[in-house]
């Protein structure tokens, strides 16, 4: 018996030691104070930058740091690797163990969720100071992307956007030309910046006459219809209100308007543009798909080239004969194009807010934007004065001047962002809720009945809100 007592006390001691370990590691850091607008170039400091391990993010970070160090040679920027596939998780873990980076890459939804945990630093004050000093103006940037970085889309500036990500249509010119040759139809001329959904339908119908697309399991479009940047412009056109502000943020998704909007997307499946049951056209891997909604810039070209998708292409032929981009289709007179934003947030407990802000300013400066482009990713600059991609001083167009990159900056007023999480208290569930809406859309397009996909939605949303 005594041994058991001893065992129990050993267990107790281990638990106590463990919790003490935690107590030491988990102490909440002090919130960072106000940042200064100016920073002495000789300043000596170290900040930590959390970067995603996916894609070219490592390269982008290196370039940004190198160009930042040209201005501030004595500031060391250490990089902290994060998974990149789940920023909320990463930050929460790093925060809980006292290792959160001062700055980290984040998208607008994760930003809302992380802000729900009160882990973000607010740049509003320093921006106000900058504006007063005449060193910063919101007018230099596309409004949409800064708004996406604000709490409730009109409040505290929590994220500094680094690029102008909007939905564009990627299309395979080669397949369309082949289709034209076989069917004798004139298809390519219907595709132009600012084209409408009607024209989109026409193009798809014409392509469906091409023998390749009459084969079973050959589809036209990778629609990514479960992605908010694609579905929200359509929802907005049909007047869907996801949450009703006047009814205290109650879910009003299930409505006639939503039914219409869902039917609009489902029609693509019914007409054979996209497959039922979530089968996409697989634009990249197989030869099937023609189009794809993606905000990623022309790095897509690299992917296609590396996939050897056009083996018959001679090296002299420009890639733009095979592939190009164009704006997302719009409804005539009611134009919306989906936009999302990725940018950098700062941890609320960052060690040196002035340095952090200097780094942020660098990211959105012309040098910073070019440094990002030099990583080979061709993200579209968030600065209005860099829209001209034919100008070689704007690096994002270098090597891609043949393409219709204007699709990314065409009519910036059409940008429509995901401002439906207006009710405080919901935003911390933004990531989860948004995934749920995406699932509803995908399932409906995949052939489930309207009742089946929306019948439980109220309950499911209620359940999500219950999980914290």
């Amino acid at each position: 018996m005594r041994r058991i007592k001893l065992f129990a006390s050993l267990a107790g001691a281990a638990l106590l030691a463990g919790s003490m370990l935690c107590g030491a590691g988990c102490s909440e850091p002090e919130a960072a104070g106000k940042a200064d607008t100016t920073l002495d170039p000789a300043t000596r400091a170290t900040i930590k930058l959390g970067i995603s391990t996916q894609n070219q993010e490592g390269k982008i970070a290196q370039n940004l740091i190198a160009s930042f160090n040209e201005k501030y040679p004595n500031i060391t920027v250490e990089t902290v690797s994060m998974s990149g596939s789940n920023t909320v998780n990463d930050i929460n873990r790093l925060h809980s163990t006292g290792q959160a980076p001062d700055i980290f890459l984040c998208n607008s939804f994760d930003m809302l969720t992380i802000n729900g945990m009160e882990l973000l630093y607010d740049f509003s004050e320093v921006i106000a100071d900058e504006i007063e000093a005449g060193t910063f103006s919101y007018d230099d940037y596309y409004d949409t992307y800064f708004r996406l970085g604000q709490a409730d889309f009109n409040g505290a500036q929590l994220m500094i956007p680094r690029s102008a990500d909007r939905v564009v249509v990627h299309y395979d010119k080669k397949i369309i030309k082949d289709a034209e040759a076989e069917t004798g139809l004139d298809i390519l001329s219907h595709i132009h910046n600012g084209w409408t959904w009607d024209e989109f339908d026409q193009v798809c119908d014409m392509l469906k006459q091409y023998s390749v697309f009459q084969q079973p399991n050959r589809y036209l479009v990778d629609s990514y219809c479960e992605w908010e940047a694609v579905f929200y412009p359509i929802f907005r056109h049909f007047g869907v209100q996801i949450f009703a502000p006047e009814k205290n943020g109650q879910l009003t998704f299930v409505s006639d308007e939503a039914h219409q909007a869902l039917d609009f997307i489902k029609a693509w499946a019914d007409k054979g543009y996209i497959g039922h049951g979530g089968v996409e056209a697989n634009f990249r891997n197989e030869n099937g798909g023609v189009m794809l909604f993606q905000s990623q810039a022309v790095s897509e070209v690299e992917t296609l080239l590396s996939l050897n998708k056009y083996p018959v292409r001679t090296s002299e032929e420009p890639m733009s004969d095979y592939y190009d981009v164009v704006t997302m289709p719009v409804f005539e007179g009611d134009e919306y194009i989906g936009a999302g934003a990725a940018g950098y947030c700062a941890y609320y407990g960052n060690k040196n807010p002035t340095v952090v802000w200097a780094f942020m300013k660098h990211i959105i400066s012309k040098e910073g934007q070019n440094a990002i482009a030099d990583a080979g990713v061709n993200l579209v600059p968030v600065r209005k004065d860099m829209a001209d991609y034919q100008d070689p001083s704007n690096h994002w167009g270098i090597g891609y001047t043949d393409y219709n990159l204007a699709a990314y900056t065409y009519e910036p007023d059409w940008n429509c962002y995901t401002d439906y999480f207006i009710k405080p208290g919901y935003s911390e569930f933004a990531t989860a809720l948004n995934l749920k809406f995406g699932q509803v859309i995908k399932e409906y397009a995949g052939g489930k009945s309207y009742e089946a996909v929306t019948g439980n939605l109220d309950k499911e949303i209620k359940t999500i809100l219950q999980k914290k």
């Binding site: 998780n89 969720t113 945990m117 882990l119 699932q439 309950k459 209620k462 219950q466 914290k468």
Partner: protein, 331 residues
């Protein structure tokens, strides 16, 4: 630290009515110290890496993290969310159902298939070890590749599924496999055939361990091979069967493999859930909730699973009368 505890233990009077001689006490003390020292790694190990995290997870399951605002005690809220039909009860029930069916069917199924494989692999033939190797090969296909492979093999004819191509060429109707709610769990269990190589090895060693004279005696008594199986092979292997049932069912209840196998389906909400949640297993659900940052809710689900595992382990041990440990082994 060990020395201190040993001294403390030795310093107190022993419980026996007649005090043993100092020499005996000293010897006992040394014995105790020796035993504890040998077991010390595992004592520290289970405390630090098993019990401590479990207790912390249990505490977590009654709380909600409010970021900088700290941690709030929410009592049974997460358990209610999981179990109440007002919230996720129906789904939880389905998921636990799937998991139980899978664990309780696939483990005996694997043992039975493994038994027949072992019979074949025990033929006394030249090159049998090559056959054993071949039987075992599918077991070592890495998880990452097996998902892609098996989804491919069980696909529709239009998606070039090998089985369906075979069926149609034989004039049989196409099977839906992973594409239908009704058949996906069965398909997954059926897939166990390819990993039966593992239990084949276990059976082979069981066969080897059964004294041959038992069979000789039985043959002299005129027993046929079925009787031998029922009277000798199975009873002699019961400890092995029992051991594998226990570890298999405990493992099966915590199974996450479908996540990889059908991982291509579903969004973040139901990754690895299969059609109509037909392959949704508890451990997979916990991982999904975890990835959606509902850690505390995930902990609550994990404890519901823990509870179920406990019940089944208890039942297995309570009904283990059929296990035959041999006569001479008196514990």
């Amino acid at each position: 630290m060990e020395r201190k505890s040993a001294a403390a233990a030795g310093g107190q009077p022993a419980r026996e009515k007649t005090r043993p001689s100092p020499a005996t006490r000293r010897r006992r003390r040394i014995d105790w110290l020796t035993g504890v020292l040998f077991a010390l790694p595992v004592i520290i190990g289970i405390l630090l890496f098993n019990y401590y995290p479990t207790v912390r997870a249990l505490i977590n399951s009654f709380t909600a993290s409010r970021g900088r605002a700290g941690i709030e005690f929410v009592k049974f809220k997460h358990y209610i969310t999981a179990l109440s039909f007002e919230f996720e009860g129906k789904l939880t029930l389905q998921i636990f159902g799937n998991t139980l069916v899978y664990a309780l069917v696939s483990v005996p199924f694997g043992l039975i298939v493994g038994y027949f494989l072992a019979l074949a692999a025990n033929f006394k033939l030249k090159g049998i070890s090559v056959y054993r190797m071949l039987f075992y090969l599918p077991v070592i296909i890495p998880g990452v590749a097996s998902g892609i492979l098996f989804v491919r093999m069980f696909a529709d004819t239009t998606q070039h599924g090998i089985f369906n191509q075979l069926f149609t060429s034989l004039g049989l109707p196409e099977a839906s496999f992973f594409r239908s709610e009704k058949t996906s769990l069965i398909t997954l269990i059926f897939m166990g055939i390819w990993s039966a190589g593992g239990s084949m090895i276990i059976w082979l060693s069981a066969f080897k361990n059964i004294p041959a004279n038992l069979y000789e005696a039985a043959k002299l008594d005129g027993a046929n091979s079925l009787q031998c199986l029922a009277k000798i092979t199975i009873p002699m292997s019961t400890p092995l069967i029992f051991y594998n049932l226990v570890t298999g069912i405990i493992g099966g209840l915590q199974c996450t493999t479908p996540l990889v196998v059908v991982g291509n389906g579903g969004g973040a909400w139901d990754r690895g859930a299969g059609v109509g949640n037909s392959l949704y297993f508890v451990a997979v659900k916990i991982m999904n909730e975890f990835n959606l940052t509902f850690y505390e809710y995930a902990s609550a689900l994990a404890f519901l699973l823990f509870f179920i595992v406990g019940i089944f382990t208890f039942i297995l041990f309570k009904t283990s009368k059929w296990v035959f440990y041999g006569e001479e082994e008196g514990k």
